[in-house]
């Protein structure tokens, strides 16, 4: 069995106003790509903060790499868990992109002699100019700098809180391609998103949260086909799976545009024959 990087066992959390999470249990293994879905206010961001120790559960146990988050400092958990917030401006605090990446590495377990190489690698991956001022960059570029700073540490688990919000399609794909590559190299991913197209294209497993309860946990295709489950979390399936389900028959298995094109091509061949 693969290593369990993150384990939540009967986790509950309450703010002053009331319960935010109730009895949540799941595990994430090395190399998984998990999407966390749910309506606004379902508790997704709270759950993400529970997963890296920023919030301590009021009930149940959260372990990251076998360490109970209640007994370990958040800054120590951060050595294994990278967290990208929605707002990159809360992360950026240095005058240059290079400075920003080096600042992030300063608090990591990466040996100092490797910092410059890691920094150069990330500048190259994201095609960023290391001498630019991050505060003079566009929202998308600032988001990329923040992500580069997180990825430079090579975290075992990467938590992304709506990383593509406010980005256009090209910028969104740039970020998704990079995080997919990290995932292919072994990092586990937990991504909060409202974008069902991204879920259909990239995620392999989906967690569905509604009003603080985990109401769905399964492989992406199964969840995407479960209209009742998605509907109870105020979600709709992505357009291609939705179209495929409506067409049925040979289209039933299509989940991406590539799948759909292949199916149409096959049917065209069959008609020709």
């Amino acid at each position: 069995m693969a290593d369990s990087l993150l384990k939540l066992d009967g986790v509950s959390f309450a703010y002053r106003g009331g319960d935010a999470l109730q009895d949540i249990s799941f595990e994430i293994q090395t190399g998984e790509f998990v999407a966390l879905l749910g309506e606004n206010g379902a508790g997704k961001s709270t759950l993400a903060r529970i997963c890296n120790g920023l919030l301590k559960p009021t009930g149940g146990v959260v372990t990251v790499g076998g360490k109970d988050t209640r007994r370990v400092k958040t800054s120590e958990i951060a050595r294994d868990v990278g967290f990208l917030f929605q707002n990159p401006d809360r992360m950026l605090c240095q005058n240059t992109v290079r400075g920003e990446l080096m600042f992030g590495l300063e608090f990591s377990s990466v040996p100092p002699e490797q910092h410059a190489a890691r920094c150069d690698e990330m500048l190259s991956v994201f095609s960023l100019d290391g001498e630019r001022d991050p505060f003079g960059m566009s929202r998308s570029e600032r988001q990329q700098v923040a992500l580069a700073s997180v990825l430079a540490r090579r975290p075992k688990l990467l938590i992304l809180d709506e990383p593509t919000t406010g980005l256009d399609y090209r910028e969104c794909m740039t970020i998704m391609d990079i995080v997919s590559r990290q995932n292919a190299e072994g990092a586990a991913l937990l991504m909060i998103t409202h974008d069902m197209e991204i879920v259909a294209d990239f995620a392999r497993r989906v967690l569905v949260l509604s009003r603080g309860k985990l109401i769905g946990d399964g492989d992406m295709r199964g969840v995407m086909r479960d209209r009742a489950l998605l509907s109870s979390a105020s979600l709709l399936p992505a357009q291609i799976p939705d179209l495929a389900m409506r067409l049925g028959g040979a289209f039933g298995e299509a989940f991406t545009i590539t799948d759909m094109v292949k199916t149409v091509a096959t049917l065209k061949e069959e008609v020709r024959v």
């Binding site: 400092k73 958040t74 951060a78 401006d89 809360r90 992030g104 608090f107 997180v150």
Partner: protein, 253 residues
Amino acid sequence: MTGLLDYVQGESFLHRLNPLTKLVLSFALCAAVFITDSHLIIIGILAAVLAFSAAAGTVSRSLRILSSLGKLSILLFIVQILFVRDGKVLLHLPFGLVITDSGVLFSLLFVLRFMTATLPLALMLAVTRISDLANVLVKSLHMPYSYAFALTTAIRFIPLFAEEMSGIMETQTARGVEFDTKNFFKKVRLLLPLCVPLLISSVRKTEGGAISAELRGFNLRKRNCGFREYPLRVADVLAVLFGVAVILTVSVF
């Protein structure tokens, strides 16, 4: 969760008072704290403010403010007590430092004043809408609207900035910056770079606020633009008299 300086919805007698009365009363209580040299009177004023808070349904918030001020007060107390050398020496410390009876009394008075003077203003903000405060400053005190707006915006921005700072610290902790360290000096050193994102975000928020105010005709606003009236009632007169009585009492004793 509401911030420590936000308005708290309510229907108590304090909520219903004229905003100007609340402003006058809170300043009177603050002034009384600085006029008197008696520890007991300051404790009495503190108890009165807490009783007002209880009546307004904001006592838990007042206690939270006191608790937050308490940490700073301990630091202030220690600094004060070490630098007052008058009076009878109670304790000799290394490096020639002494603790005297006057030092203890003065430090205690200093800390009590600090904590008690903060509460009436916080209570006034808890029971007064910022917009009402701005309107009454313009209508009754004839303050230019731009000044009243600047004052109330500054008050409104305090909790926003506190929330932003808390968000920045959370983000930085998530990337491994050790804000959860117990070493005070290390924490302060780590906090310094965070002034940059806070400053950037403050400038962006202020600029956004200024643009939207301009678009809504900020410069067209005159003293008589507000439709709400703030008449003085019997309760307001009694509250002001109470404030004057407190000032007179502490001046005599």
